[in-house]
């Protein structure tokens, strides 16, 4: 297979609560997402899709199972190591943007570079890089604006620029159009398509079938399990290919 696997999970379980009351959020997820794929994760609330995204985003660790990100086992890393992985390999796009207030678009985009641990750049180089990134999402003229001076669509573009600045293995987008009007939402989706066309691996969580339909592959979760995987039409497809 020419395409490298980016995300590989083996029997991931996530159990909340200690002692008597236990809530199983994820109950054995086997999944593989390859380089350049554009994947939508769907499922009703409580299906475990947020938990899955948190684990895939290295914001949380699975209770059981293995998670390989770019071939590197990240299931048992400590918090500092996970932070380093997020810095190096992951980009996040949030429903509510999560930009720093009172901070210009440029500085927001530069933020991940601040916590970079390899390939250190000078301030001028980082500014240059952030400017290019903002230009690539169509915000060249708004780099010195604070988030509150930007429209929702513009804020989401800043978030995407911030997510891409460290050239991550995968872009994780949690309801990226959830707070936007239809038109802005379509523009953001178009931007994601453009990134995908240029080879970017993208995983988005959405509850809108219309948006999910625009991706290449839909993964459905229910009660912490894979209900279906658009790759081969059934759950557990990833395991078969391994």
């Amino acid at each position: 297979m020419a395409r490298q696997p980016i995300i590989q999970t083996y029997g991931i379980r996530k159990v909340y609560g200690m002692g008597d009351i236990q809530v199983v959020a994820l109950d054995g997820i086997d999944l593989q997402i390859d380089e350049g794929e554009f994947v939508a994760v769907m499922g009703p609330s409580g299906s475990g899709k947020s938990t899955l995204m948190n684990i895939l985003g290295c914001l949380d660790r699975p209770t059981e199972g293995r998670y390989l990100l770019g071939g590197e086992d990240v299931s048992h890393l400590d918090r500092a190591q996970l932070a380093a992985i997020r810095s190096r390999r992951l980009g996040f796009v949030f429903q509510s943007y999560n930009l720093l207030p009172r901070t210009t678009a440029l500085n927001n985009v530069m933020l991940p570079l601040l916590y970079q641990r390899d390939g250190k750049l000078s301030t001028a180089e980082r500014e240059e890089k952030a400017k290019l990134m903002l230009a690539s999402v169509g915000l060249a003229g708004r780099i010195h604006h604070d988030p509150q001076e930007l429209s929702g669509g513009e804020q989401q573009r800043v978030t995407i620029a911030r997510a891409l600045i460290n050239d991550p293995l995968v872009l994780l987008a949690d309801e990226p159009t959830g707070n936007l009007d239809t038109r802005s939402g379509q523009e953001i989706l178009a931007l994601l398509h453009e990134l995908h066309d240029r080879g970017r691996t993208i995983v988005i969580v959405t509850h809108e079938p219309g948006i999910a339909a625009q991706t290449e592959r839909i993964i459905r979760l229910r009660d912490g399990r894979l209900e279906s995987d658009g790759r081969d039409g059934s759950a557990g497809g990833a395991r078969d290919s391994f």
């Binding site: 949380d60 500092a80 932070a83 009172r102 916590y115 911030r162």
Partner: protein, 421 residues
């Protein structure tokens, strides 16, 4: 773990910390108040004690360590207990002390207050000091023009006067002190005319006495013309203070004992009932030191309490800040900030608060020391190392009280933090 260091440079840490402080100016200012007071108190405290030490050192230098002060307990009002009434310390006592073993020299003081006239200038309530030729040497006074009076003039009750620097200027004009213009002039004390034979060099305030505003004259002039005593023939002339200079410091105790016995014999009372005070330079220094030590320890407590209260204030406001900025912390964590990156940011912010407070406190302390020095008459010397020390304690307070909120921030769960409203 062996993670390489993050990219965050000191200047960025400082910038982010400064932004955190500057966003809430009033709040930050109020938070810094404790630190400001603490640091100012540290500087003031050290300035006061350094000033006192300098004053004491100066006094030791000017007076010499082998000086005994004999003074009358009741301001020369009367001898108690005996069948005679009169002064407790008289001129003849002083002369007898001069004869004791181990005594190098003596000087005697008796003050008075008089209206002084010179030409058309008249000054009321001028402090007159009747004394003996040894006075300039024991009080470390030098004559800037003319000379001090001598033994012959003392014995003959010569009508001569030596003017303090400031008094000479007031009586004969500002230029009189440099030239000879005051010398040979006549000053009138009440009805007694004295010839000016010298002007003393500027000395300034010593304790609460202005040495420059006084007129110095042979003590015999005081006895004869200014405050003649009805009992003088019987008892001798009252004096306020006798300076006894010993030959060396080793014989001090011996001389003190001799003075006590001499006075007991002359006053015909047991030693315990003596109405004279015998003190040494050491006693005076100890008294002064104990007063300033009390003052100093008070300030030290104020400083310590303020710094601790200031530190708690910083901790409180940092905890509020961590809560307010939970989402920001989550964002930073999501894009790659490690717990130690977050911790460093908040410690830096606490440090920034305490250092800015420290800086203002240093300014207040230096200004306060100056103000205190000029208004209280207590000398203050701002030591550069006290500024460093105060700054250092402010920094320590910032780091100490900032660590708890910073750790709290560092331990936040990124998912919870991002969800925080």
């Amino acid at each position: 773990m062996g993670l390489p260091e993050a990219h965050v440079t000191p200047s960025e840490v400082i910038k982010v910390a400064w932004d955190g402080v500057a966003v809430n100016k009033v709040r930050s200012m109020l938070t810094m108040l404790g630190i400001i007071i603490g640091v100012a108190a540290v500087i003031l405290m050290i300035a006061v004690s350094a000033g006192t030490e300098a004053t004491i050192a100066e006094q030791i230098n000017s007076l010499g360590a082998n000086l005994i002060f004999v003074s009358s307990s009741f301001g020369g009002m009367g001898r108690m207990g005996g069948q005679t009434t009169g002064a407790t310390l008289v001129y003849d006592d002083a002369l007898a002390m001069a004869e004791l073993n181990g005594v190098a020299s003596i000087a005697v003081e008796m003050p008075s207050t008089q209206l002084v006239k010179a030409g058309n200038v008249a000054l009321d309530e001028v402090s007159i000091l009747g004394t003996t030729p040894g006075f300039p040497s024991v009080r470390d006074m030098t004559v800037t023009s003319g000379r001090f009076f001598n033994e012959t003039e003392l014995e003959r009750t010569s009508k001569v006067a030596v003017l303090g620097y400031g008094l000479a200027q007031e009586l004969f004009g500002a230029e009189s002190v440099s030239g000879q213009s005051a010398i040979g002039q006549t000053v009138t004390l009440g009805s007694t005319k004295l010839t000016v034979i010298g002007v003393l060099a500027e000395r300034g305030m010593v304790g609460d006495t202005d040495f420059d505003a006084r007129l110095y004259t042979p003590i015999s002039i005081i006895f004869k013309y200014l405050i003649p005593s009805r009992f003088a023939r019987m008892m001798g002339d009252a004096v306020r203070l006798v300076y006894v200079e010993t030959e060396s410091q080793d014989v001090m105790d011996d001389v003190i004992l001799q003075i006590e016995l001499l006075m007991a014999k002359r006053q015909e009372v047991p030693v315990e009932e003596l109405t004279v005070n015998i003190t040494t330079q050491q006693d005076i220094i100890e008294t002064q030191e104990s007063t300033t030590a009390a003052f100093r320890s008070l300030l030290a407590w104020v400083a310590a309490v303020s710094l601790v209260v200031g530190g708690i204030g910083i901790m409180n406001i940092m905890l509020v800040s961590v809560t307010e900025r939970t989402r920001e912390i989550g964002i930073r964590q999501a894009v790659g900030a490690t717990p130690s990156d977050i911790r460093r940011q908040f410690v830096a912010e606490a440090l920034m608060l305490s250092l800015v407070g420290g800086l203002i406190g240093v300014a207040a302390g230096v200004g306060g020391s100056w103000l205190f020095g000029t208004t209280s008459g207590m000398r203050t010397v701002v030591a550069p190392e006290s500024i460093l020390m105060a700054f250092g304690s402010a920094a320590a307070v910032g780091i100490f009280f900032g660590s708890y909120p910073a750790n709290k921030a560092a331990q936040l769960d990124p998912i919870e933090a991002l969800r925080h409203e």
